[in-house]
């Protein structure tokens, strides 16, 4: 159920590595816990994040949660579609990226969870 081409974190984010860049979103498990997403607050392009930094917030009808960066690097793009379609996080979580990061430390990527390890975490 969790795409094998993605990497995952203990905080329920996924990472799609694409050369020197990585796209970041939240997992199906995370969106189910949150329920209907109504608002995603994202950082400005150009912001430099360290691994584990909060890069925004995600609000569902029932709660607000922080989003944590799985990797260190500079934010090179944010998904502006989310302003009008926050519900895409619920309907297609693994295809709905939030930010793209220019990765500054490749060794962090190697340490992320693979799909099997992540799925075990959610059991």
């Amino acid at each position: 159920m969790y795409p094998a081409e993605l990497k995952y974190t203990n905080d329920h984010e996924w990472v799609r590595v694409d050369g020197a860049e990585a796209a970041v979103g939240i997992t199906d498990f995370a969106q189910k816990q949150l329920g209907d997403v109504v608002f995603v607050e994202l950082p400005d392009v150009g912001r430099t994040l360290k691994q584990g930094d909060s890069f925004g917030t995600i609000e569902s009808v029932k709660a607000v949660s922080e989003l944590f960066s799985p990797l260190s690097g500079e934010v090179v793009a944010v998904n502006s579609d989310l302003a009008n379609h926050p519900d895409h996080v619920n309907s297609k979580p693994h295809d709905t990226w939030m930010i793209r990061i220019k990765v500054s430390n490749a060794s962090e990527t190697a340490a992320l969870l693979d799909a099997n390890a992540y799925e075990a975490l959610t059991k």
Binding site: G35, D36, V38, F39, T57, E59, S60, V61, K62, V64
Partner: protein, 349 residues
């Protein structure tokens, strides 16, 4: 599932937004058996209810219901309640789940002190409560009962059978939609629940949880005791002057309420809409010049109106429609505006 007032309750079934919209457009079914029932009976039952609650229960006919509050001597909330007049000298109070024990002891102690012939019984365990809410509610429920539902007016109730089970049916709810609440013996609850789901299947009925109950009640501007008001909030501060029986004899807290009505009110609960894009939630501070001057008591993004709304306790000087004020949303200063209540009002049939 989530713990609520000592009960394990489902937050959502098909999703809060889906359940919310289903109640606004078809019908939703809620298990609200957690609500408590406290009965007061005896020759002096009316006197006891009049002393303990702020609304004027003498205006109730048999079979009629009113929204009211159990008040402290300070005019604040022990609880907000519905008062059902079962007979001339028999009342049933429907109270919040988390307050059943507190309310029962409060009523019992105060009634004893007053003396007279009034027996207080906590009958909460005798009733399960199923709410069917939405424009299709009456049609669905009618297929299972011989009670003539159109004859039950808003805030009235009747006795009879639903799906062959003995019930009391009241035209009440906590959603801002037309609908009914069905009081059933716990042993009959599952039968009635399943029968309603089956009877409403072609009308689009869906089970709805605590999450949608909260967004629906807020969209309809209905207060949640314990969140919007408590023992620190008077009935007038909660914006509920319309449930005070100003012409009846003195009751617990009536002197405080009279004086606030005469001009000593300092703060008031108001409805607001966010001007900036953000959701203000329970407990967020209302600020002016960096200082807290009020507090958000409820807030959400409402599924039907698709607006970010809420209730906030503001100084009276700001509590007028159109006034803009600032809420601290996790360190960000965002603007909100006082708007008329209710946020949502269903179209009259």
């Amino acid at each position: 599932m989530v713990e609520f007032g000592g009960w394990d309750m489902p937050v959502e079934y098909s999703g809060i937004i889906d359940e919310h919209l289903t109640v606004r457009t078809a019908a939703g079914l809620f298990d609200v058996s957690h609500m408590g029932q406290i009965e007061i009976a005896g020759k002096h039952a009316l006197g006891a209810v009049q002393h303990l609650t702020c609304n004027d229960a003498s205006k109730l006919a048999i079979g009629q219901i009113q929204y009211s509050a159990l008040t402290t001597p300070e005019g604040t909330f022990v609880d907000d309640i519905l008062v059902y007049r079962i007979a001339d000298d028999h009342f049933m109070l429907v109270v919040n789940a988390g307050n059943i024990v507190k309310d029962y002891e409060w009523i019992q102690n105060n009634t004893r002190q007053r003396g007279g012939d009034a027996v207080v019984v906590n009958s909460s365990s005798r009733y399960a409560l199923i709410a069917i809410q939405g424009p299709e509610a009456e049609g669905i429920l009618q297929t299972l009962t011989e009670i003539e539902l159109p004859a039950i007016k808003y805030y009235w109730f009747a006795n009879g059978e639903v799906a062959g089970q003995r019930v009391m049916v009241s035209r009440t709810g906590y959603t801002g939609e037309d609908g009914f609440e069905v009081f059933v013996p716990p042993a009959s609850a599952e039968k009635v629940w399943n029968a309603l789901l089956a009877a409403g299947a072609d009308k689009g009925i869906k089970p709805a949880g605590l999450g949608a109950r909260d967004t629906l009640r807020l969209e309809a501007s209905m207060r949640l005791c314990g969140s919007d008001m408590d023992e620190q909030t008077t009935v007038l501060e909660a914006g509920l002057g319309w449930i005070v029986g100003w012409k009846k004899d003195a009751f617990l807290g009536s002197d405080v309420l009279q004086s606030q009505k005469a001009g000593s009110l300092t703060k008031k609960l108001v409805g607001f809409e966010m001007v900036d894009k953000a959701i203000a939630r329970h407990g967020y501070a209302v600020v002016a010049d960096g200082q807290p001057i009020g507090v958000v008591t409820s807030g959400t993004q409402t599924p039907f109106l698709k607006k970010s709304i809420g209730l906030a306790m503001l100084p009276v000087a700001l509590a007028t429609v159109g006034t803009e004020f600032t809420i601290d949303v996790r360190g960000r200063q965002v603007t909100a505006r006082v708007v008329p209540e209710p946020f949502y009002k269903r179209a009259k049939k």
